[in-house]
């Protein structure tokens, strides 16, 4: 019973630690002009490697069992290297080293826990929603406090990530040693997985270009809080009212995003609705790859990375972004509907 909450809180701790490295330690140590490149490197390592790591752990259940703790420890080592190293060696060397190590720990943590959560979800969306929601808070708080009060935020992140790693260590002997097939139903066909991947890439692109509401100070934490609530409610509502409700909620985000402007509320509500689809993405990927929960989880992150990367190839105006994000939400919703077909709650995954 305690396991889902340990996973959720440790997810927050891992992302909080990583974003403290990036915003409190790495950015201030960089000469002008290198940040974008290093941030892209972080994204490539932390998100691009989840698919191959997931494929690797799928046939190694013992490794998957210790993976969450291992990921936490490696992330903690990255943070400690960046924090302590910078005290002795000025410049970006140790922050870059720490960022690289932490990105690898982040990838291992995410894909191992994601694999466990998907395998044990029994086809329900809410466990994936509960796990995923904390990441947005870790990113938001890590950025906000790491930028605002780094002298407090970084040591706090170090303590929190060490405590999270200890908590994860206590879970290693749980029923994690055996990867059980997640379904005995017919897996989704390849074309459905291809449509789903296209939807996830579009979602990643839309998430990157989501309009930023005019907020200042602590109110800038509202968007990550909305993302958190969106992921959580997408899982809960999808279980209660059927999977298509999550698709519908993402489609409804389109007009809100398009109409958002000087008033922040349409954009904030649109942000919440836009992210409700994430648990469904992950469970549908598992439906297509039922014997590979780690790879299925990593594949969703690879698509997210591809969408985010595509967004870096152009710089449309704020007005154009709204229309692009709205269109991306609608097309991604249609593709997801096509990919899931007539699948309803717990129909393809038992």
């Amino acid at each position: 019973m305690k396991k889902p909450y340990i996973f959720t809180l440790s997810h927050l701790a891992v992302d909080f630690a990583c974003f403290n490295i990036l915003f409190a330690l790495l950015l201030p140590a960089l000469p002008d002009g290198n940040g974008g490149t290093l941030f892209l490197l972080y994204n490539l390592l932390a998100f691009g490697l989840q698919a191959p790591i997931g494929a690797f752990i799928d046939s190694r259940p013992r490794l998957r069992a210790i993976g969450p703790c291992l990921g936490g420890v490696v992330t903690a080592l990255g943070l400690a290297a960046a924090y302590l190293g910078r005290a002795f060696v000025p410049g970006p060397v140790f922050p870059v080293l720490g960022m690289t190590v932490a990105a690898l720990g982040n990838a291992v943590f995410h894909v191992c826990v994601g694999s466990i959560v998907l395998t044990e979800s029994g086809g329900a969306l809410s466990p994936a929603g509960l796990f995923n929601c904390a990441g947005a808070l870790g990113v938001g708080f890590g950025t906000y406090f790491g930028t605002g009060i780094p002298a407090v935020s970084v040591p706090a992140a170090l303590v929190v990530i060490v405590l999270a790693s200890l908590a994860l260590w206590t879970l290693r002997r749980d029923e994690l040693r055996e990867v059980k097939p997640a379904t005995d139903a017919e897996p989704l066909p390849g074309w459905a997985l291809a449509l789903l991947c296209a939807a996830m890439v579009l979602h990643g692109l839309g998430g990157s270009w989501m309009p930023e509401p005019p907020l200042n100070g602590a109110l800038t934490l509202l968007p990550p809080i909305m993302i958190c609530l969106g992921r959580l409610s997408g899982g809960v509502l999808g279980d209660a009212a059927g999977r298509r409700s999550a698709v519908l909620m993402m489609a409804v985000s389109a007009p809100l995003v398009i109409l958002s402007g000087a008033t922040p509320w349409p954009a904030l509500v649109g942000t919440l609705l836009f992210w409700t689809i994430v648990p469904l993405f992950q469970l549908t990927a598992l439906s297509a790859l039922p014997d590979s929960p780690g790879f299925a989880f990593g594949l969703t992150k690879l698509c997210l990375l591809a969408g985010t990367f595509l967004s870096s190839l152009a710089a449309p105006s704020e007005y154009d972004r709204r229309w692009i994000v709205g269109a991306a939400a609608l097309v991604a919703a249609a593709l997801t509907l096509l990919a899931t077909g007539k699948n309803k709650k717990k129909e393809t995954i038992k």
Partner: protein
């Protein structure tokens, strides 16, 4: 929001074509590897 919005970085990445090409190549390699894994694991079923 899982990922770092690239526009928060001091220099937008699209102004660094070399890194863009390297990143694109890395993503293409990862995607190709993913397709191979999907085909292999799909074939086992």
């Amino acid at each position: 929001m899982n990922l770092i919005p690239l526009d928060v970085a001091p220099e937008p990445v699209y102004e660094s074509p070399t890194m863009l090409i390297i990143a694109a190549a890395a993503i293409i390699v990862l995607a190709a590897a993913a397709i191979v894994i999907i085909l292999k694991r799909g074939g086992k079923r």
